[in-house]
Assembly symmetry: D2
Homo-oligomer: 341 residues x 4
């Protein structure tokens, strides 16, 4: 059988280049075309020596493909995607353009009118654990943000079971690659090394995604979420600690654990951990480890989740979505175990 | 004027060795004696080459001093301290033995009967920002834990002003030196590097300290604190993010900031930061930077604090206490600026 | 076709656990048995959560396998291997026991009589780039040390072509995982982080391996090698910088590069780099990147090589040897690209 | 006594800001003026919160001072310095402009005609261990590069005693702060973390400094130096490993050590270490630790040196030079011990 041709728009960021790495190991899909403005004309392996096994030239324009990943910045991503959709090409959009269902929310958080509001109805939020059935037939899938992936998977079982009240704290710790490959003082080695800081205290753009999805899980309750991201001196990984008051303070940790196990019983990439998980236990893999517990002194839910922000938080999840959209086994090409230590 | 002689019991841990470094720069105090069981008989600079400037031999027994720092583990620390107090020597205890006022709390958290309950009444909790007046005349000061130092300084102004309700989340991120110099798999380089994890989810021993001090600040309210510490791949630093609901949701960030500035207006080591602080901005110094803000969407208080866990979180604060107890200027020997980058 | 059963003796060190990870992805081989004394009776995924996909219990004794990897310490490894060989089982020994052809060299460097000198004649030094033809039919292969792998691949083309004199400097920089999973102060996080040091200046046990193999490449010359290893604050990776005087000072960098390309033209895992390589460009993969150049001012050869010490420097190379010994394609199961960034 | 006023030209790089930190602790000197083009008009503590104790505004032009440090890039530094010298102001130049005595060497390495060749005769190379007597009366001192400081202090005793031949290898490992505060992909956190690389293999600008000073120590021999710098994932520190053949292969390590102890017997900042030194043992201090040894198998000298590249490798050494030029005790303001761990 011929492999299915796919392409990457803007391969030169960390999400794009991680897509290339993972796709090169996919047995049914061929990475046939990659684009990148500044690097156009160079070979992929010249810019990224670790991809020396892939023989591709970075082009200014995408070639013939059946499915495209867009790793463009928001707004530009929508603009690139529109003509592709018109040609019938399937798209997984890694940018934020089609994640929020409400164009006014987009306007509020991104400071511009939505570039393609007419497409919002058909776009599916690409968190397979919540929207698998809709992702499969979709032409346009909006790949979730890295923080929302960890936060929603941490909270979904509890919210769906109406175990917690609306007051939710999401405290996330992210490795520096989440800030991308674009240079900045905050990600300059000597500044970020041996340092931890909180940022976006006035409100991070991933907050409305988290709220939107939690609301869908329990439409009867409006979640009031405070989300604070932190920058941690490591390259990969997000650990999220989520806190909420239990509506019934008497829940035992074992009952909670059983609920999480049931919720995730068919999930190939979500594992309910036996002990507090480490980001390193997902390094390079598409896993999300979730550890729910109860603070018995206060009757409060505490859930820890860990992911590799570039895999389950970006490129791996995009391929998981691609597999669903192409009718392939959901885990295909994503079976690699985490690299430890 | 002759310098005042002081000593360190158990100099070989990270708190002890940091005390030695800082004391060597103190103009009015002479580090006259250091003990350490396993290293007894060796010169201090043989075990710690960075202390080559200090000419001292590690002994099994403390020599003549006016004030002693104990960096022993809990229980053993009380046992070492009792005879010193009887001789009239002043003591700053870096262990947990005299931090909790209630011996039954000690029993509950440390799993043993308190080794010297008769001393609890006279011991002063050594957070100068809250107990300066009692520290000065005390013979026995219990140096706070590293996490409580950051957490209490983050929350004290808001709790004292009765701005927040009792539900409090304290999410702390600590560098690895907080776990000490004793070997463990969790602090083995290849395990801790490029990794983040939460720990002590069943309850950390620093929780009752936090609760005790917050309760003192607003006796009319019993705080219900969830405290989750995290291990971060850096050597020094604790960043604490504290969350609580404002009793009046209408508080503006500027009003909050003014409250924090007033509370700390005479504090030499607490600085209300203009922007979210970095742990690196306290590296090697006795500073605590505090950044209070309001999550306007949810009417929630969010406060960030940062300290160097080995200085303001241990050895520096112990010297600050010593200065008060000896009638010296509080900042003496602690003026060094943070080392950046 | 049934998969070939293989086993790992002492799976609980970093080389052993990396073998388990890589073997789980091998299409023709089944990891059927793993041993480990202290962890015997526990499931593999209990001790190593990142291996949750592998369903195996750690046993005290190896089960039925066709080929065994030994990741035991030296001496004990030989003792474990002898009975396996007598049963006709093939063995890749990751310890140092069979690397040195001369039992007196072993005595000199390891401080004990060789535990099985009768096996030295049949053991093959498992660097496929030099000994591929002998590895294939061998029953016992001695997997090279991590430093020798990088050093020999850096120097082999130049030595074989008699381009350099006998005076050779090998300056290696290794990540901390090379020191293993056993706890030590040198590998305690707070000691190793933000630190670099040289060690084993009196002579490292990997030196005689390097000398032995270089001598084989140019038997007419006795190499006089100074080897200094350094510990670098990263988990994985070895960068080796090798220096030697060119016998003809007039060699151009391009000629040298051509020589290295020719030498490695059929090598699946050695790549002659276009620019100074980064250890990160091999992270998690079996690649060795080599960059030869000439210091034109001094007429000196300078070669840089980089490997992942746990893959090409240990477990990956062991699997490469296994593939050769089992008649499988040499690269099978080792195709994964490096993980970047 | 009034403090002596000094200033910093271009305070916003890492050398400049480290100067500000160290000068703020100097008892006889007042940091009276700081300049910086992009940040002009901002307060120093706004740009660098760790300097909150210093009340200074960054200006476009230097104010009245008795001595100025220039932390400008080369060429621009000379241009800034000329008018200061004409006004009788003393200058410590941290740039490379006045380090090389031979203007044609400058032309060759920096690719431009020397901006002030008339000043070369009066400029003194500011390595106090070699040129103390000339530094004291100088008006213009050229502060050495970070690599040359470590390399020359490692080799000087052996070269001066004519112990080694001309073939010298200098292999240096530097923390990332040595690359400065200017953004680049090489110093982007996710690229530099968990990575090691060699660079400047075609020749680093610090090489001619090393050669110039070694030649002065033994004018009868022309050193043939190969210098390869490496980038290591840590913020501060340079470890240099220097290799050379002993002219007499019979030298014992103890004799060598005695020679190094004699050479450095009056040096306040150079310490001959008892065991292979760690960069961490100099962290934040002006120390240089040197460890000389003999590879007995090959009759080769191996010397390790470690410094903090921003202190003894830049700002600390500049203050040491300032002390000499102002007639102050050489160690004044530089007594702080290294910060460990």
């Amino acid at each position: 059988m011929d492999k299915i041709k796919v392409g990457i728009i803007n391969v030169t960021g960390y999400a794009g280049v991680e897509l290339a790495r993972l796709l090169s190991q996919h047995p049914q899909v061929e990475l046939a075309s990659v684009t990148g403005r500044s690097a156009a004309g160079q070979s992929l392996s010249e810019v990224f020596p670790h991809l020396a096994g892939i023989d591709l030239t970075i082009k200014a324009k995408l070639g013939d493909v059946e499915l495209a990943f867009s790793a463009m910045p928001h707004k530009e991503s929508a603009e690139e995607i529109i003509p592709l959709l018109e040609k019938g090409i399937k798209v997984v959009d890694i940018s934020a353009d089609f994640r929020l269902k409400d164009a006014s929310e987009y306007q509020q958080w991104y400071g511009l009118n939505h570039p393609a509001p007419q497409l919002l109805a058909q776009a599916v939020y690409g968190l397979p654990e919540l929207h698998r059935a809709q992702i499969a037939p979709a032409q346009l899938v909006a790949n979730p943000g890295c923080y929302p992936t960890g936060a929603i998977l941490a909270l979904a079982p509890a919210v769906k079971a109406k175990l917690i009240g609306p007051d939710i704290i999401v405290d996330s710790k992210s490795g520096v690659s989440g800030a991308g490959r674009t240079l900045s003082l905050a990600t300059h080695y000597s500044e970020a090394n041996e340092d931890t800081t909180a940022y976006a205290l006035e409100g991070h753009r991933h907050l409305p995604e988290i709220t939107q999805e939690l609301k869908l899980l329990n439409p009867g309750q409006s979640p009031s979420v405070t989300f604070v991201p932190h920058l941690i001196p490591m390259t990969r990984g997000i650990l999220t600690t989520a806190y909420a008051n239990l509506t019934s303070g008497k829940l035992k940790a074992e009952e909670l654990r059983k609920l999480y196990l049931d919720f995730n019983k068919d999930e190939p990439f979500v594992r309910v951990a036996d002990s507090p998980p480490h980001t390193k236990q997902t390094w390079g893999s598409n896993l999300c480890l979730v550890y729910p517990t109860v603070d018995q002194r206060t009757g409060r839910l505490v859930v820890i989740s860990v992911i590799d922000n570039l895999v389950k938080g970006a490129a791996g999840q995009a391929i998981q979505n691609m597999n669903l959209m192409l009718g392939l086994p959901e885990t295909m090409g994503l079976e690699a175990l985490p690299v430890y230590p």
